[in-house]
């Protein structure tokens, strides 16, 4: 019994670790899409941030410096996306894909030129990473049945960016639903003409949304490179930006449900790792590919209308043209 309990705890523990970049990236996507800008470039921004964080941290030796530069780089790409799609009204999907391709190549080439390790950055020692934090009273509380191990294995022992990810979600909710900025943000994604008529700048609001997304993608990329791992490797984001977008749709563009979708996808991932080669009673061995495909399948099923409707912000994907 206690063995099963521990396995469940460890699976959930892994879920937190795996979901963290998804949650932060999905929140970045939420800001962009709520403001009416489709952001396929989450993947590229995260990858660029991962590369920046790992490089800076390797050279300077401070994870915080890595995080700072990662956020700057990611914001720079977000502004590029904004310049192409908001200022020049280019196609948002094309611009996003262009960013992904640009970063995939550029990170490896810069890595080769700077570090001569085949596009990798040097492996980091523990001083230049975000390490796990053990929360207070872990051992004192360990004697309490169920809650003690729960606290020790599940709540404690993550790095600061994991806690940050879960703190960001309520903040995003508050900003989007309870502030003036949030109201305008949602309005600009639904009906930019009305916002414009009210005398607010659509362009400025959309740029602001992308900038927030840039900061968040910077954190997500930093987590992948120097918290969860200890160096940058080629294409290390491995499609998590797209999974975050799927979670955004699955969570219907609302912060809390998006977080739950990310946790579900993370859980499936953590479960897949542990179910490999294990025969379940009555079902037999589940092919890993089935679980791997599940997030995408769920999203497609949702989009087909089987589990509720997913209605994107009305003006999402449409560049705003001021009427003359």
């Amino acid at each position: 019994m206690s063995d099963v309990f521990l396995t469940v705890l460890l699976t959930l523990d892994a879920t937190f670790r795996v979901s963290t970049p998804l949650i932060i990236a999905a929140m970045a996507g939420l800001f962009a899409e709520r403001a009416g800008v489709v952001d396929i470039g989450l993947e590229g921004k995260m990858l660029a941030a991962a590369f920046a964080a790992a490089s800076v941290s390797a050279v300077v030796g401070s994870p915080w410096a890595g995080l700072g530069v990662a956020m700057l780089v990611s914001c720079g790409l977000a502004m590029l996306h904004g310049f192409a799609t908001i200022t020049h009204r280019g196609d948002q999907v094309v611009s996003g894909i262009a960013i992904n391709i640009l970063v995939a190549g550029l990170s490896v080439i810069l890595g080769l030129a700077w570090f001569h390790q085949g596009g990798l950055t040097p492996a980091l020692d523990n001083d230049s990473r975000f390490l796990s934090i053990t929360l207070p009273f872990v051992d004192q509380l360990a004697f309490i049945p169920v809650l003690g191990p729960l606290y020790k294995e599940l709540i404690s022992g993550h790095n600061i960016l994991v806690y940050l990810a879960f703190a960001i979600v309520p903040i995003v909710w508050w900003v989007v639903y309870r502030t003036r900025f949030g109201l305008r943000l949602r309005a600009v994604g639904e009906n930019p003409t009305a916002v414009d008529t009210a005398g607010l700048s659509v362009v400025k609001l959309r740029y602001k949304a992308l900038l927030i997304g840039g900061v968040l993608c910077g954190i997500a990329g930093t987590y992948i490179a120097i918290a969860h791992n200890a160096q940058f490797t080629r294409d290390m984001t491995a499609g998590q930006g797209y999974i975050a977008l799927a979670a955004l749709i699955f969570g219907k563009w609302r912060p809390l449900t998006v977080m739950l979708a990310c946790l579900l996808f993370g859980f499936l991932d953590a479960l897949a790792v542990r179910l490999q080669g294990v025969a379940l009673p009555g079902i037999g061995e589940i092919p890993v590919q089935v679980i791997e495909a599940t997030p995408y399948l769920l999203t497609v099923i949702l989009l087909a209308g089987f589990i509720g409707r997913a209605t994107p912000p009305k003006a999402s994907g449409i560049a705003y043209v001021k009427e003359r």
Binding site: G118, L120, Q289
Partner: protein, 333 residues
Amino acid sequence: MKLNKITMAIAAAAVVLTASTVQAEIQPAVVYDKAGKFDKSFNEAVFNGIKRFTADTGISVREVEPTNEVQVEQGLKKLAKRGNSPIVGVGFNQANALSAAAQAYPNTQFTLIDMVVPEANVQNVVFRSQEGSFLVGALAAMKSQTGKVGFIGGIEIPLISVFGCGFEQGAKHINADIEVVYSFVGSTGAAFANPSKGGEIARSQYEAGADIIFAAAGSSGNGVIQAAADMGKLAIGVDSNQNYLQPGTVLTSMVKRVGEAAYQSYATAQNGTWKPGFVSMGLAEGGVDWALDEHNRSLVTADMEAQVNALKASIIAGDISVHDYMSDNTCNY
């Protein structure tokens, strides 16, 4: 003084001329993989082999460093057009490009490392990875305290399962009761470049009681080694010597000597014994090996070292035959 120099130059030329009558004049070349020649891995090993060849013979090797798929085929063809031969292609990714180039230039000698294409003018160098994996598996079994070791592969394909099967045979050879758990990172090419996932899988294996993991999963393996370091366990590297990545955490590495393959290809072309078809490199030919250096010295006792080297000798002598997964796509040995 001047006269002296001229005489020396003539003498040197004479030496070169006499040498060339014995050895064929070759214009060797190489096309690296996209990772580039300073990748601290596969390509750099080839580069080192080439450097050694140039130092030994004085023959320089023309190099191409492609940055994308298209340039691989262009590079191979351009080298062939300029009369270079033999041309070495590094890595299984070049199979299609090399096949096309070999058809276009049937009189040029091509050598493909780590993959097979059935062309009449191509030498295919493949490694008996199962033999090296056997050795590291045996070492893992000697070192393991929990009686459980893990294998993490990139994708579940024969090319990767060869490593796992050899590893299991070696482990079972030392301790028949040892448990070997298998996991694979994914089912697409991204599985070889996902250190986060590699690390998560490693954590789950360690949490389930394994204390040493052998990873054959490209850069996902870096995540495995990192997870081992974070959790105070051991990992085994692959392809190149990865012991230095985390000294004290990497028990050993299963090395493929790709540089040796390139060197041999040029040397045989030079003395006229280069042949198309299969070249299989195992422990006996120095194609695969286990790595022992200052980074893992403290982890391997003299007794273990002696045992592993004895096993190596037995495999070379043929007393132990290691089953090749690819021969029948099963791991029944």
